[in-house]
């Protein structure tokens, strides 16, 4: 498989997963506020700023919006062209990568990504978001699930598929950890958290719902929402398909699928780092994590995930694929003016 193609497949899936996670995060938190009575500006900002931090760039946000409200944060995370992590930007990037490998993906997958992109760019998207945010986010989540189903049901289990899945699970692990980190301000820097209030419980439940983990969590712990249990579930659960451990388990397996190396060996840094992180997650307890401080732990975790992505790149892609500069774009456009439209005149 061409290295560039592997790279595009990997990023196509990372961006789709990113859009999906952001959609859930915004959706759940918009709904959460419906449960509150009128909130003052400060409380409101206290609710939304961590979400901006989790899914985007806080400095960029404050430079664009004076106040953090449901409206401004939604705009920032959904449509804002300046925000390279907005849903629209992520879907655009996914489509751009898909376009580059059109010959490698099935037409069903391409058409759905293209459809989602065209929808998000159309005026209908904004109307839908204004009139019914739930439906709007549902559309994105459904599209993401549809794409995952299509991939699952129609794509050859070849190298390209492995790269796609690595992209998906690495992004998902990263996103789950970021969403869990949203409420870290309510915890002490280190050590056992104080019992949560009713409003606090709602916020932690929102964290679970943002990861589509609410039902799964309840089936194990009941409705007792405790930060330590939530952290344990989202970080260490071996069975929940969005937990960090579950995702890293997959990354580790998939990487060995690419190289053909046995599970207890490694042939490159990506495999070494993934195996090491998996072992760490398998042999950790939530007490240790809480003791060290959840936020600190998550910070380190994200660095480790990034390192796996970087090592993967080193191992298989070899060369950097820079965003083409203007000169190159212009040259691409200039080629073959014997184009379809190019009948010269009479």
């Amino acid at each position: 498989m061409l290295s560039r193609v592997a790279n595009s497949l990997y990023w196509m899936n990372r961006y789709l997963e990113r859009a999906d996670n952001t959609a859930r995060l915004v959706d759940v938190n918009l709904q959460l506020l419906l449960d509150h009575r009128a909130l003052d500006e400060k409380t409101l900002a206290g609710h939304w700023i961590p979400i901006v931090q989790s899914a985007g760039d806080e400095n960029l946000f404050t430079s664009l919006h004076a106040r953090a409200t449901g409206k401004t944060v939604t705009e920032f995370l959904v449509f804002q062209p300046e925000n390279t992590n907005s849903i629209l930007a992520a879907v655009s990037q996914a489509r751009e990568n898909a376009r580059m490998v059109r010959d490698q993906i099935t037409s069903e997958v391409w058409e759905e990504i293209n459809r989602l992109y065209l929808f998000l760019r159309s005026p209908a998207a904004r109307q839908r978001l204004d009139s019914s945010p739930i439906e709007f986010f549902q559309e994105i989540k459904t599209s993401s699930l549809y794409l995952q189903g299509l991939t699952n049901a129609t794509v050859l289990r070849n190298e390209g598929w492995l790269f796609q899945q690595v992209g998906k699970y690495l992004e998902r692990a990263d996103k789950t950890s970021r969403i869990l980190d949203v409420r870290h301000a309510s915890l002490p820097a280190r050590g056992e958290p104080v019992p949560v209030s009713q409003a606090g419980a709602l916020e932690w439940a929102a964290v679970l719902r943002s990861c589509s983990a609410w039902d799964a969590y309840k089936s194990i712990h009941g409705a007792d929402v405790q930060p330590a249990l939530v952290a344990e579930f989202l970080l260490l659960s071996p069975d929940f398909p969005r937990s960090v451990r579950f995702c890293v388990q997959w990354v580790n397996t998939l990487l060995r699928g690419i190289s053909g190396v046995a599970a207890d060996r490694f042939s490159n840094d990506a495999e070494k780092l993934a195996g090491r992180l998996l072992a760490e997650l398998q042999f950790s307890t939530s007490e240790e994590i809480i003791d060290a401080g959840l936020h600190t732990y998550i910070d380190q975790l994200q660095t480790k995930l990034n390192d796996i992505g970087g090592a993967l790149f080193q191992a298989y892609i070899f060369q950097t694929f820079l965003t083409p500069d203007n000169e190159q774009l212009q040259q691409q456009e200039e080629q073959q003016q014997q184009a379809a439209g190019a009948v010269t005149g009479r």
């Binding site: 290295s3 751009e96 010959d103 691409q332 080629q335 003016q337 190019a342 009948v343 009479r346």
Partner: protein, 503 residues
């Protein structure tokens, strides 16, 4: 012949021989132009009868719905082109008209023979120019014109191209004038594009109107990718039994990128960008996740100038350093060959009838449009005196760029061209304004069919054998009165049906 049950309309063209016309065509007027569908007296041409009889049975509302569905399909599939110079990434579909252009068998036979004659002569010409240059020594073409041509690659004189084929893929543009006679407007011998529209238009028509094809006897076009693949395999370097063929694209920002991915997928080959290829010991390899894999044939959709920054333009960000050395060493083949741009220089176009006569000792089966060379003193005088009546083109521009449409231009535009012509006469030719044939075309604004000017680009493949795909891309100038079928200037396209029979 089934008689269409479509409702009558008193304003039908008189005597439309096939019975009744669908309402969408009622009141249609040829307005004195040569019309592809109707005779001057308003009678339907026989080869359109089967189509019209079926078309007429479709209720109007259904027709509108189908048109909308096709547009949505093209958009969803991403069959779009990027608007040149638009950095917003605006993508548009190439508007598609439901009424196909129909060509009867006997007419097509003549076109086919004429196109084969032309590509054969052009390949002989290119071989000669890059080797013995007999045609120059015999004084048939003044050497000055060839040696000064922008796309003449002197670096490749005496280089033996694989299979001795220069032009593998050609798309010659045909037009019909007021008397209905076909003429060649220009040859596209470098990287003609648009073939994916030909294929997708047919697919869309079959999908939307399966009933049209049943019993109408339309020749299929979908073997194009297979035929192209065969040509590409044919030119593989000697000794390579199972060559790896790739398609080299400038990248996703090129307006024909959709076509590149489409063709690659249909042929089952990999699409690569310059940065995916690496040359080592005069051999070309792809960079893959499992190391480097050899490549033997490159169907390149990049101009000569950009292929290799170490040989041609040093600033090329799209090419592959060392590619030309590998090519010269005979380790990789290119289609089309380097230097074919000479054949579509518009000054060379002027000489094509002579080229055919010289190499094949035949008269051209499809004539040229009368052409004046600005560098010939007599012609130049005529051109400068008649700028307001002529179409002036620069010799090496395509896509409607660098062109003056005299009758549609202002005095200032004419004067600007006069200066250019005087300053660089080698670079200009002029032709009379041809009144292109028209075809009924659905016009959204009036909700009715009106006559619009069309041309035709058939695709010719030259390998072990020469194949003209029965069909092509019919482009239509959607603006009333416009003669420019350019997609960026309000052009659209139609499916093109070549019939097995004459009606």
């Amino acid at each position: 012949m089934a008689v269409s049950p479509a409702p009558t309309n008193s304003s039908c063209p008189p005597g439309s021989g096939s019975g009744l016309l669908p309402t969408v065509l009622s009141g249609y007027a040829t307005e004195g132009f040569f019309d592809e569908m109707f005779l001057p007296d308003g009678t339907l041409r026989p080869h359109y009868r089967k189509f019209v009889s079926r078309f007429g049975t479709i209720p109007r509302a259904e027709l509108d719905a189908k048109r909308g569905a096709i547009d949505a399909l093209f958009l969803r599939q991403g069959i779009t082109f990027n608007v040149y110079g638009d950095s917003q990434g605006t993508e548009r579909i190439f508007p598609f008209d439901l009424l196909p252009r129909v060509i009867p068998a006997a007419e097509w036979e003549k076109l086919e023979a004429g196109l084969i004659q032309r590509i054969t002569a052009l390949n002989l010409f290119l071989h000669d120019i890059y080797h013995e240059q007999r045609i120059l020594k015999d004084g048939v073409i003044p050497p000055y014109y060839v040696l000064s041509a922008k796309h003449f690659r002197r670096e490749f004189v005496n280089f033996r191209v694989p299979g001795d084929i220069y032009i593998h893929v050609c798309g010659s543009d045909l037009i019909r004038g007021a008397d209905g006679g076909y003429m060649v407007l220009e040859d596209n011998a470098r990287c003609p594009s648009g073939v994916s529209y030909m294929l997708e238009n047919r697919r869309a028509m079959r999908r939307t109107f399966p009933g049209f094809f049943d019993g109408t006897g339309v020749r299929p076009v979908d073997n194009y990718p297979a035929e192209l693949y065969e040509v590409l395999r044919h030119i593989a370097p000697a000794g390579v039994a199972d060559p790896t063929v790739v398609l080299l694209t400038p990248g996703p920002y090129n307006s024909a990128y959709f076509e590149h991915t489409y063709l690659a997928r249909q042929m089952g080959i990999e699409i690569v960008e310059g940065r995916d290829l690496v040359v080592r010991d005069q051999r070309v390899y792809t960079r893959t996740t499992k190391g480097q894999q050899p490549v033997h044939v490159i169907y390149r959709r990049i101009d000569d100038d950009f292929l290799d920054p170490t040989v041609f333009r040093a600033d090329s960000a799209l090419g592959v350093p060392g590619l030309i050395h590998a090519y010269r060493a005979g380790n990789v083949s290119l289609a089309n060959s380097i230097g074919t741009g000479l054949a579509d220089d518009k000054v060379m176009y002027y000489f094509v009838p002579r080229i055919i006569k010289y190499y094949l000792d035949q008269e051209p089966l499809i004539p040229n449009v009368p052409t004046y060379l600005a560098s010939e003193e007599k012609d130049r005088g005529y051109i400068l005196d008649n700028l307001d009546k002529l179409v002036v083109k620069s010799a090496n521009e395509a896509g409607g760029y660098g062109m003056l449409m005299g009758p549609h231009s202002t005095k200032a535009e004419c004067e600007a061209f006069r200066e250019k012509i005087v300053a660089d006469p080698r670079n200009f030719i002029a032709q009379p304004m041809i009144s292109l044939s028209r075809h009924p075309t659905f016009i959204e604004e009036t909700n009715h069919c009106e006559g619009r000017h069309v041309d035709l680009r058939p695709y010719i493949l030259y390998g072990q054998k020469t194949t003209v795909i029965p069909g092509g891309l019919t482009r239509v100038a959607l603006r009333r009165g416009s003669l420019v079928v350019n997609s960026s200037q309000g052009g659209g396209s139609k499916d093109t049906w070549v019939l097995y029979a004459d009606e």
